[in-house]
């Protein structure tokens, strides 16, 4: 590992790494990965491994959150994330209430703050929230007396996605250690909460992180990278921002494609999906530039033929379905930690 480029920066980013076995969980909310220390991230990974053990059983259910009240509040359409959270909560025996805002009084103009207070009065203890406006869960956390788990806010953060991505990468990288490993995220970074949260977790893991996409979809990211590079924000790692897809993918250990939205054409940020696919799509030729054992990831839902070629998505390199199943384990782990356990061991989960 020591010969890997970027290992020095990785060690610097992990200088707070202490013995991890006795790390206690003390966060009331999970709004983003930025406030998590590396030992805390490792605690989540370890807890998720225990949850993975539960998921491997014929009956995927433990009583850890029996009687605890989990509410999902989704202000944005989502199937896979909401179902993943609800599955995770039910696997832990929690009582789950789902609120889709199209059917709630939100459509009558109720404010977020009022909605949160109402849900609290109705007994919600853990609130899982998806919102189209960046920072909305931070407002919820200010008024909610329980726990807020961010299921994605605007362009800002998607912490459970970043953690399940990290978890999946660790399963495929030899030794489970990402230090010095090249990870490239290709696509609409500007509008991506997945990319933003991954910046925090992957630099914390010591990965050699590259963000790649058309210049219109990278706006502002160079200034973020420059701030970290220049030491304006000490203690953080470095990452690269480029529109040169070949340089980004060359010798990568992990290639992650992001979803391209059709609105990007209407707002004049991209000429066409065809041109995007030709210049930035993850196809077999581009994957061949990565390391032979490299994996291909996508947070879903995929536009096959646009940001990822169908043959790549279906190939043995693709770990997209593993991401989905790992997502349940990660969300079970976070629910479990938030609900009040402290050391990452799960009663009844011993294998």
């Amino acid at each position: 590992m020591s010969a890997q480029a970027g290992a020095g920066a990785a060690q610097a980013a992990r200088k707070d790494a202490a013995p991890t076995q006795d790390v206690a969980w003390h966060h009331r909310h999970v709004l983003d990965v930025d406030v998590l220390t590396w030992p805390e991230i490792e605690l989540i990974m370890r807890t998720a491994e225990e949850m993975g053990g539960i998921l491997a059983r014929p009956i995927r259910k433990v009583p850890a959150l029996n009687g605890r009240r989990v509410t999902t509040l989704f202000y944005e359409a989502s199937t896979r994330t909401r179902v993943s959270f609800e599955t995770a909560a039910r696997n832990l025996s929690a009582d789950v209430v789902s609120i889709a805002t199209a059917t709630s009084s939100v459509t009558k103009g109720e404010s977020l703050v009022d909605t949160i207070r109402t849900l609290e009065a109705l007994g919600a203890e853990i609130l899982i929230m998806r919102h189209s406006v960046s920072g909305a869960p931070y407002l919820a956390a200010q008024v909610f007396s329980g726990h807020v788990l961010n299921g994605g806010d605007g362009w800002h953060a998607h912490p459970t996605q970043a953690l399940l991505d990290l978890y999946t990468m660790r399963q495929h990288v030899p030794g489970g250690d990402l230090r010095g490993r090249k990870v490239v995220i290709v696509g609409d970074v500007l509008h991506s909460r997945v990319a933003r949260s991954n910046i925090w977790s992957l630099t914390a893991a010591g990965a050699d992180l590259w963000l790649c996409g058309p210049a219109t979809l990278l706006r502002g990211l160079d200034r973020w990278a420059a701030a970290w590079e220049g030491g304006k924000v000490p203690g953080h790692g470095r990452f690269h921002v480029t529109s040169d897809v070949a340089a980004a993918i060359r010798d990568a250990d992990v290639v992650m494609a992001l979803r391209i939205q059709r609105e990007r054409m209407q707002s004049g940020l991209l000429p066409s999906l065809r041109e995007y696919a030709a210049r930035f799509g993850i196809n077999a030729e581009r994957v061949s530039m990565a390391r032979p054992e490299a994996i291909v990831m996508h947070p879903g839902p995929m536009n096959e033929g646009v940001e990822i070629a169908p043959d790549v998505a279906a190939s043995g390199r693709s770990v997209v379905t593993e991401q989905v199943s790992n997502g349940v384990a990660i969300r079970m782990a976070l629910l479990y930690l938030l609900a009040g356990s402290h050391d990452g061991t799960v009663p009844g989960a011993a294998r």
Partner: protein
């Protein structure tokens, strides 16, 4: 505490019968003089101004009680009519007086917009009914209903006494309308005061484009939006001047280094363009937001138009105040209700309630050695008065009067104590708008007295606290 002694005034609004301030630091930006001195106000008139010399001046320095002319705010929102839950003319005047201001010019983005004389009469009636001696001036809208389509009742508004025209809250929408407005207002001897923002570039924007917005996932508010509008306005002004030499342009709340540079160049070329910078956000920059990355992410009190810019832009604003490019410092006092602010950052309304904190912010720059005291006072008094004196219909009226410490004139002054600070809280702010990122912070320069037109506008309720 002799400096504070000697008030016989009665209640706010009444003529100051007698006020003596002894052994204080006087700042007279008209005379270009500052130093130890004493003043006496008698029956509302500044009866004597004595400059102390030699032994008499012993022990008096500029770090204690300061007497300065009453401050002039060129850009405020008192929200009446239409948004009285956010502010009224009465509460706005009370807040202004607490901030040391004796005159405030309010913007016309009310509901209905101040686009015809009837609305101005309502504002005036509210000011008279408030009993406050703070003088309220008003701008009329450039366009009917501020819609950017056709001109407001400009001539009638001029006859009724507006001091200029602005579609503040938005840029004058088209260059064609701006050209007409500059010509017509110029004919009337009044300026166009423009809010410089290319709306095309700021659609959906939430925070200055850069590191902070990028990390927080907020839509970027590019500096180019301001620079673009400033460049357009200056080009249109240059053109309009050929037809109407009295055309005047004032660009308000500039926030970027590049926009200030454009004004600097235009002024050097002799164009009659002036501008101002913001006390709070302009001079502080987005380290406020930057600090909020961990301290208070998405604090909607930081959401403001123009957005908090970079530290380099803030430094450029200060430099522009120092070199005179920005002739005035304004607050853009923008009170809002909690209902409009206690929402998601992306849905929060823009604005900071600032008229009570501007003096303290400037004094903190003085404390830090970045701004001389006399320059800070000038930026809040003779600076804006000088700009307004360049508008021929306003020149010679009380609004544009020289703001000095002139014996024999109606007393119009502020007394503040640089050695004493005050805590910004929802209770200590007299404005209805509690939307300021300074809540919970201490500001230097507690205002002890504000006297406007010979009448008591504000008196520190806790004079013995220090």
């Amino acid at each position: 505490m002799s400096a504070r002694a000697g008030l016989k005034a009665g209640q706010a609004g009444q003529v100051v019968e007698r006020l003596e301030i002894q052994k204080a630091w006087l700042v007279d930006p008209v005379a270009g003089r500052e130093g130890p001195g004493e003043i006496v106000v008698s029956d509302g008139v500044l009866e004597s101004v004595v400059w102390l010399e030699g032994d008499e001046a012993g022990g008096v320095d500029d770090r204690g009680v300061v007497v300065a002319p009453g401050l002039l705010e060129m850009h405020a929102h008192f929200r009446e009519p239409g948004f009285e839950d956010a502010e009224t003319v009465a509460t706005g005047c009370a807040a202004a007086a607490h901030g040391g201001y004796t005159t405030a010019a309010v913007m016309p983005n009310t509901q209905p917009a101040l686009d015809e004389p009837g609305i101005l009469e309502r504002v005036r009636a509210a000011a008279a009914a408030s009993g406050s001696p703070v003088e309220v001036l008003a701008y009329g809208a450039v366009s009917l209903d501020r819609a950017g389509e056709q001109l407001s009742a400009m001539g009638e508004l001029a006859d009724a006494g507006v001091v200029g025209y602005s579609d503040d809250g938005a840029c004058v929408r088209t260059p064609r309308l701006l050209r007409s407005a500059l010509l017509y207002a110029g004919m009337l001897g009044l300026p166009i005061v423009d809010h410089c923002e290319d709306a095309e570039l700021t659609a959906g924007a939430e925070a200055n484009e850069g590191y902070v917005a990028s990390v927080l996932g907020l839509a970027g508010w590019p500096a180019a939006a301001e620079v673009n509008a400033v460049s357009r306005d200056i080009a249109v002004l240059a053109d309009a001047l050929r037809d109407e030499p009295r055309a005047r342009l004032h660009l308000t709340h500039l926030s970027t280094a590049a926009a200030l540079d454009a004004v600097r160049r235009a002024r050097a070329a002799g164009l009659p363009v002036t501008c101002d910078a913001l006390a709070a956000d302009g001079l502080s920059g987005d380290p406020w937001v930057d600090g909020a990355l961990t301290a208070a992410p998405y604090d909607t009190s930081l959401r403001v138009n123009p957005p908090l810019r970079t530290p380099a832009d803030a430094a450029a604003c200060l430099a522009a105040v120092l070199d005179g490019t920005a002739g005035a410092v304004v607050t853009d006092h923008a009170p809002h209700t909690a209902v409009d602010k206690e929402v998601e950052f992306g849905r929060a309304i823009n604005g900071i309630s600032g008229i009570e904190t501007a003096l303290g912010i400037l004094l903190s720059f003085v404390d830090a050695g970045k701004l001389p005291l006399a320059r800070a006072v000038a930026a809040l008094t003779t600076g804006p008065a000088g700009i307004m004196a360049g508008w021929s219909r306003v020149a010679g009226t009380a609004a544009a009067r020289p703001r000095g410490l002139t014996e024999g004139a109606a007393a119009d002054l502020v007394v503040f104590d640089r050695a004493d600070s005050w805590l910004v809280t929802a209770d200590s702010l007299l404005s209805k708008g509690k939307n300021t990122p300074l809540l919970g912070r201490s500001l230097p320069g507690r205002v002890l007295f504000t006297v406007a037109g010979g009448r008591l506008a504000y008196q520190d309720p806790n004079p013995d606290q220090a």
